[in-house]
């Protein structure tokens, strides 16, 4: 009995002392699951040069990132869409001046299982699939298999881009499967022959098949020169411009360096500059 009490007190003491230890220089980054992998890799690179800095990357959607920046709960908000008017006004009301840094370019790609013979779709066809008008692949020249459409109906920036260019504010069909992140869409499409989904170009790899949209295949060239219609920039938002030389500043300008570009390329996105 006494031993238990002593153990409990020891644990309590440990816990309290760790609580009192000042939170040393830390960087809180929150937001989009699309930009997430880039920031994870940046964090890894940073941890080598600044080993005692704690960088936390929380991927919970562009909307949450914006909200966290407005509430000053994070230092950098990752967003795969630009801030909405309401978010801007809320920020200004709270004394936060959002500044956007474009760190990479992205395209929203339509992906299907590699065994699917369909190679291209028009935006209208994609729209019809997602409102439930087209239900079977044979209507699109494919095999007789029901279409399993996968979407992200959340405050995700990827969803917003998709909604902007394809759905155009029309509600999706009820039978659409909903997943909560880019990797999940990739995993579902990879394992289900009848599936179709949309991901950022960073998630287009050999395990899934990318479709041409309106005749254009998403690639680094077509996104940079704007011919691929479903393209968008990826942002890091900060409260005002970060102080020159601070950790925030280094993080937000890392994409300009050769290493940063290498990382962006490795993750499959399109760097803004080219070495």
């Amino acid at each position: 009995m006494r031993k238990l009490v002593v153990c409990g007190l020891v644990i309590l003491a440990l816990v309290l002392t760790t609580a009192l230890k000042a939170a040393d220089k830390a960087l809180q980054i929150e937001g989009s699951t699309t930009v997430g992998p880039i920031c994870d890799a940046f964090t890894e690179a940073f941890n080598k040069t600044y080993p005692d800095i704690k960088i936390t990357v929380t991927k919970n959607g562009s909307g949450n990132g914006a909200a966290a920046l407005i509430d000053k709960r994070c230092d950098i908000a990752m967003m795969s869409r630009f801030m909405k008017l309401e978010e801007f006004t809320a920020a200004v009301d709270k004394g936060v001046m959002p500044v956007a840094h474009t760190i990479a370019l992205d395209g929203v790609c339509m992906i299907v299982h590699p065994s699917n013979p369909v190679t291209e779709l028009s935006i209208q066809q994609i729209h019809d699939i997602y409102i439930g008008k087209i239900k079977n692949w044979k209507e699109l020249g494919g095999p007789d298999m029901p279409i399993v459409a996968i979407s992200r109906d959340t405050s995700s920036g990827t969803y917003e881009t998709f909604d902007n260019f394809v759905m155009k504010k029309v509600k999706m069909d009820a039978g659409i499967e909903y997943v909560s992140s880019n990797p999940q869409v990739h995993a579902r499409v990879k394992t289900t022959p009848g599936a179709i989904g949309y991901v950022g170009i960073g998630f287009l790899d050999a395990e899934v098949k990318g479709l041409k949209v309106n005749g254009i295949m998403p690639s680094k060239e077509t996104i940079t020169n704007g011919t691929y219609s479903l393209s968008r920039p990826l942002f890091l938002f900060t409260n005002g411009f970060p102080e020159l030389g601070s950790l925030s500043y280094n993080f937000c300008t890392f994409y300009l360096s050769e290493k940063g570009q290498e990382i962006i390329n490795a993750k499959g996105f399109v760097p803004v500059t080219h070495y």
Partner: protein, 316 residues
């Protein structure tokens, strides 16, 4: 000689006790009572906070629309918060899970209480309890990584994560609860009933079905309700394995398509929702619905368990 009554201390001071003793005794007891009330406080707080967060939503959008509309479009231009598809989804997986687990559970309970000796019981019971010990995330892992590909490959389903997958795994999770509660109540049926039945020449199966189970019926119903509560409240398995499509299955018996439950909606949406917006409050409203449902089921199960106690005269 009357045994000392430990529960009721005399209010009047005993000549051996001093004022200090008296005070410390009663103050001590009051403190203990207050600490015990923390559990009451917790339930009240849970209810209060969930209601508090969901009330603005319920005031803004009508309750009937919330309960009867099937369109769940929280991020659309004009958001629609119809939770019917989610309620039906929870209903589907729960009922199907019970369809799998109730017969199996009852048979296993009968096995443990009537058919085998105590020695075998001590071996089999831990095995079933092991099923209860496995964390729900491991069940979800199994459902997604092992069961879903198997369903797609061997059974030819369009998608491996669907209502059937989730129901099956939920059935396995509810099984230990049903088995243990049912077995307790079946064992609590007095020997006399069984012996009388055997004395009249009934076989074991007839005794079980015609005498024991009816005698233990309230306990068994309580077991089913507890299993139902487990299935309704489970989150991780349905989030990972049900596909999450906000729809009502079209031919009502078609379980091979994805559905979405209330718990999966809360878990899946909450991470990416901005705190304080309508969507966030709608999720709390779903939580309130879930809470009310499980509390009702809880009260029901308590009633049936109390009935079982009355009948057989033993606790639990």
């Amino acid at each position: 000689m009357p045994t000392a009554d430990f529960k009721h201390q005399p209010l009047v001071l005993n000549y051996r006790q001093g004022l200090g003793n008296f005070l410390s005794l009663h103050i001590g007891r009051t403190i203990l009572f207050l600490i015990t009330c923390i559990s009451v406080l917790s339930v009240l707080l849970i209810f209060f906070f969930i209601v508090r967060e969901s009330l603005p939503f319920l005031q803004k959008f009508r309750l009937t629309e919330f309960l009867t509309n099937t369109g769940w479009y929280p991020q659309a231009e004009k958001p629609q918060f119809g939770a019917l598809a989610l309620i039906v989804g929870s209903f589907y997986v729960t009922i199907t899970a019970l369809l799998f687990s109730v017969p199996t559970g009852l048979l296993a309970a009968v096995f443990l209480s009537d058919i085998v000796s105590f020695k075998v019981q001590t071996i089999v019971k831990p095995v079933i309890e092991l099923l209860a010990a496995i964390p729900s995330v491991a069940y979800g892992f199994f459902a997604v990584m092992v069961l879903a590909p198997w369903m797609q490959r061997k059974l030819g389903f369009t998608t491996g994560v669907n209502a059937l997958n989730a129901s099956f795994v939920l059935a396995v999770m509810a099984l230990p609860t049903i088995v243990s509660v049912a077995q307790d109540s079946i064992s609590a049926v007095g020997r006399e009933l069984r012996e009388a039945s055997y004395g009249l020449g009934a076989t074991r199966m007839e005794t079980i079905f015609k005498v024991v189970i009816p005698a233990a019926h309230s306990g068994i119903i309580a077991a089913i309700i507890l299993g139902m509560m487990r299935a309704v409240g489970e989150t991780m398995v349905v989030w990972m394995a049900s596909g999450n499509a906000t729809r009502i299955p079209h031919p009502w018996w078609d379980l091979s398509g994805s559905i979405r439950t209330m718990t999966a909606t809360i878990a899946g949406d909450m991470g990416e929702t901005a705190k304080g917006c309508d969507h966030y409050r709608a999720l709390f409203a779903i939580g309130l619905l879930l809470l009310v449902m499980t509390l009702c089921l809880n009260v029901l199960s308590e009633y049936f368990l109390a009935g079982a106690v009355k009948k057989t005269g033993t606790s639990k």
